[in-house]
């Protein structure tokens, strides 16, 4: 009848605690022998953790399930497909890349556990392209204290380049950079128009707005609306009504794709059609077209996206004449055939993996974590790839892609690049890139 309890510690407790401890020891014992080898991270020779004569073990935490999974779960398989293609062509100095990506559900406490497991138990050589700002901030001190490279974090936070954490590095443009570039476009091309903001109420949106505000005079901004991811289901009707009432003719969006789609639907419902200026995070046409269809039960056409302004730092995925797009599509067909979608996430995953391959090559035959970091600091700045601006890597800069070109959506599914390619830094001015054209992919990339 009652739950049987009461104090009964004494011998039971002692014996029990010890037995728990012993089981724990038994469970963990398989890992103890391995983990000791992860400490001499800066040691010489090819004795680096995760590196053997014929393999390199990369790890990653990704939102394969959970709220952030739609779209983002395509990234790691796409990266893996590119690694497979490189492996098929002989690998890197005879070493094949093994990419072990695990699901952290975008939950920092899961990330904390799984990252430690990857590093201490599975002995990964580096944490490659792990996704998310809160998730990666959580493990940044750990990875750096262990001397494990936290490479090309999939987040536009400006937190990945700091002298305090030399083993961390970003890859995609910081949100602040994007904001400044979009702001520059508005200032130059939509001068005199009233501007409204709609942004996600977190670091992503706030950083973006910081960039916009750095460029746009505050007198032109007539309304600032926010939303949070958890209240997305409520739609955007209130925010859109407020933007319309304020007379905003240009609306800058720092939104994830689902929020962009809801915004467009809410605006269409009240016949409001400002010029949308959307961060690259929330403007991928195939993703948006799919969301519009599903949210409106087939009623909203993709043409709703027509005229949307955004920034791109890789060739538009709809540009089938681009040799990178052709190569990536061929790789997807061959090595990632489970994913039938070709979209910005797949392109992103392949492009970032391509950077990793270049970095591993640059680190040399005698691969160590130290040589990898050295290659990032001294050689990665001159890597060529699909990115539209030169990479900014140096001993004091771990950002990566710090620029973008403006692109306008034509008809719904096509992004057409327009105007100059801009370059900037988190605190510096926006300048125009000259003397740089993206290199063509190596002929044998797709195998």
């Amino acid at each position: 009848m009652t739950i049987k309890t009461l104090h009964r510690p004494r011998h039971a407790a002692v014996a029990g605690l010890l037995s728990v401890a012993l089981v724990a020891a038994a469970c963990g014992s398989s890992s103890t022998s391995k983990s000791s080898s992860s400490t001499p991270s800066s040691g010489g020779g090819s004795s680096a953790p995760g590196v053997t004569a014929n393999s390199i073990l990369l790890g990653s935490t990704q939102p394969l399930t959970g709220p952030a999974a739609p779209g983002y779960s395509e990234i790691a398989p796409a990266s893996n497909a590119l690694f497979q293609a490189v492996n098929a062509a002989g690998g890197i100095y005879g070493r094949k890349i093994v990419y072990q990506y695990v699901d952290d559900q975008y939950n920092p406490s899961v990330t904390a556990t799984k990252t430690r497991q990857l590093v201490l138990q599975n002995n990964i050589f580096a944490d490659f392209n792990p996704l998310g700002t809160p998730t990666q901030l959580t493990v940044q001190p750990f990875l750096n204290s262990q001397g494990v490279p936290q490479l090309f974090v999939a987040s536009g936070c400006d937190c990945w380049s700091s002298s305090k954490y030399p083993w961390s590095s970003g890859w995609q443009p910081p949100y602040t950079d994007e904001g400044k570039i979009l702001g520059t476009y508005i200032k130059d091309n939509l001068a005199g128009k009233k501007v409204g903001y709609l942004y996600q109420d977190d670091e992503f949106g706030l950083d973006g707005v910081k960039g916009l505000d750095a460029v746009l005079p505050s007198s032109t901004v007539v309304s600032r609306q926010t939303y949070s991811v958890t209240t997305l289901t409520a739609g955007m009707a209130n925010q859109i009504a407020a933007l319309k009432a304020a007379g905003a003719q240009v609306v800058a969006l720092y939104t994830i794709p689902a929020a962009t789609a809801l915004t467009l639907l809410a605006a269409a419902q009240i016949g409001y059609s400002p010029t949308w200026v959307v961060s690259s995070v929330g403007s991928d046409p195939p993703t948006l077209a799919g969301l519009l269809t599903s949210f409106s039960k087939g009623k909203a056409p993709a043409s709703l996206l027509n005229g949307m302004v955004t920034n791109i730092y890789l060739p538009p995925e709809s540009d089938n004449s681009n040799p990178w797009i052709q190569a990536f599509k061929a790789i997807q067909a061959k090595y990632d055939s489970n994913n039938k979608n070709w979209d910005g996430n797949v392109e992103y995953g392949m492009a970032v993996a391509y950077t990793m391959v270049d970095l591993l090559k640059a680190a040399g035959k005698n691969l160590t974590r130290q040589s990898l970091l050295q290659a990032l600091d001294t050689k990665a700045g001159s890597f060529t790839g699909p990115w539209l601006v030169p990479l900014s890597y140096s001993g004091s800069d771990h950002y990566g892609i710090q620029g973008s070109q403006i692109a306008v959506n034509q008809g719904g599914l096509n992004l057409v690049p327009t105007g100059p390619v801009y370059q900037t830094t988190v605190s510096g001015p926006v300048t125009t890139v000259t003397n740089y054209t993206p290199a063509a992919p190596p002929a044998n990339l797709a195998g």
Binding site: H11, A13, V14, T113, Q117
Partner: protein
């Protein structure tokens, strides 16, 4: 005031033991001196000390990944022990302990980020904040019974993380707050330092709760659980006792949340979802409701079940969608097996098995069997004449 409802076995056991001492031959007397002290504080202190030394030696012999897991086991043990006190001793149910953990975690995070106060104060602030929340929730809980209480606390688990999103400028919103990393003494690895802190806290908490159980308050908790009317007739303020149990339980949850935040390095709503509250409850039942050893076993399950299930699904090449849900299914299966095989949890099962083993090893049950439920080892050291029946089972 405790006299009329004195359910404490010690009184009876002591009386019986004295009465039974006529049977004490030479080996019996020697054995009796080998027993742990009868004074609860000394006894629990001794156990804690031994366990502490054992765990310390264990962390020293395990690899660095196990440090982080040891820390987590200890942290969950604190939360489960607190929940066990509420449910096992006081008969109140809470589906919202994850939210109370969040209260402690956010309080610690705010201090960690905005001030330079010592780590101990950051943790204490988490405990205090959760205790205050416990007063409020406890006062509501004292008016609710059974399913109504379950519903109210479930609402707490659902609503509290939303507050973090609503007031995102202060509480960090979806992404949560990123804490400043701990600083460990020079040569100690950060994860190991955190493991030591967590283990120390957990040992202290389980010791204090074990003492509380044998105290006047513990007896009052149980009296209220068993029969509120009888308890109030015996002079116990039922509502106040229930609130007290809730506060102590919340403080434990707050401590666990605070330590979890420090160990993980991030405090956000994702870490304190409803699933956590439910898992704590499952862990409590699996370990053995209200038992201190059971709390540790529960903590162990909370840490290792997800890991086991993910390695199982990896070796079976299951899809990630299956993998991420497998651990919940695993909990369900373990829960069912435990309820069928050992209805009073694994701690209860161990004790029952030990009683049986003792009976088999020492023949005639009535005289020599370790009659008290807390005897686990069949070793002769525990074999002193003891009360024949467990007085608890008469009631």
């Amino acid at each position: 005031m405790g006299r009329p409802v004195d359910l404490d076995r010690r009184t009876t056991s002591a009386a019986m033991a004295t009465g039974g001492s006529t049977t004490g031959q030479a080996p019996g007397r020697w054995l009796r001196t080998a027993r742990l002290p009868r004074q609860p504080f000394l006894r629990h202190g001794l156990i804690t000390l031994v366990a502490g030394v054992a765990l310390f030696l264990l962390t020293d012999s395990l690899g660095p990944f196990n440090d982080f897991q040891m820390a987590q086991i200890a942290i969950y043990a604190v939360a489960v022990a607190g929940l066990g006190l509420l449910t096992g001793w006081n008969g109140q149910i809470s589906l919202g302990h994850g939210a109370l953990m969040a209260v402690g975690a956010f309080a610690t995070a705010e201090l960690n980020i905005h001030t330079n106060v010592a780590l101990a104060l950051q943790i204490l602030a988490g405990v205090a904040a959760a205790a205050v929340a416990g007063v409020i929730v406890g006062m509501i809980a004292a008016r609710l019974r059974g399913p109504y209480l379950a519903g109210a606390t479930l609402a707490l688990a659902l609503a509290l993380p939303e507050i973090a999103v609503k007031y995102s400028t202060v509480l960090g919103g979806e992404e949560g707050l990123t804490l400043n990393p701990l600083t460990s003494p020079r040569s100690v690895n950060l994860d190991r330092w955190m493991a030591w802190i967590s283990l120390l806290c957990a040992l202290l908490v389980t010791m204090l709760l074990a003492n509380l159980a044998t105290s006047r308050f513990g007896r009052a908790f149980r009296a209220v659980r068993d029969d509120e009317i009888a308890a109030s007739l015996a002079g116990i303020n039922v509502a106040r006792t229930q609130v007290l149990a809730f506060v102590v339980s919340s403080a434990c949850a707050g401590l666990a949340g605070s330590l979890l935040g420090l160990a993980v390095g991030n405090v956000g709503p994702q870490s304190f979802e409803v699933a956590l509250s439910i898992s704590l409850l499952a862990a409590m039942v699996i370990g053995g409701t209200g038992g201190m050893l059971g709390a540790w076993i529960g903590g162990f399950f909370l840490v290792y079940v997800p890991q086991w299930s993910s390695s199982v699904s990896h070796s079976l090449h299951l899809s990630t969608a299956v993998e991420s849900n497998l651990s919940l299914a695993f909990y369900g299966v373990v829960l069912m097996v435990v309820i069928i095989v050992a209805p009073s949890g694994i701690q209860g099962g161990i004790e029952a098995a030990a009683r049986l083993a003792g009976r088999l090893a020492f023949g005639r049950p009535p005289l020599l069997a370790p009659a008290e439920s807390d005897l686990v080892s069949p070793s002769p050291a525990t074999d002193t004449p003891r009360p024949i029946r467990n007085p608890k089972e008469d009631t």
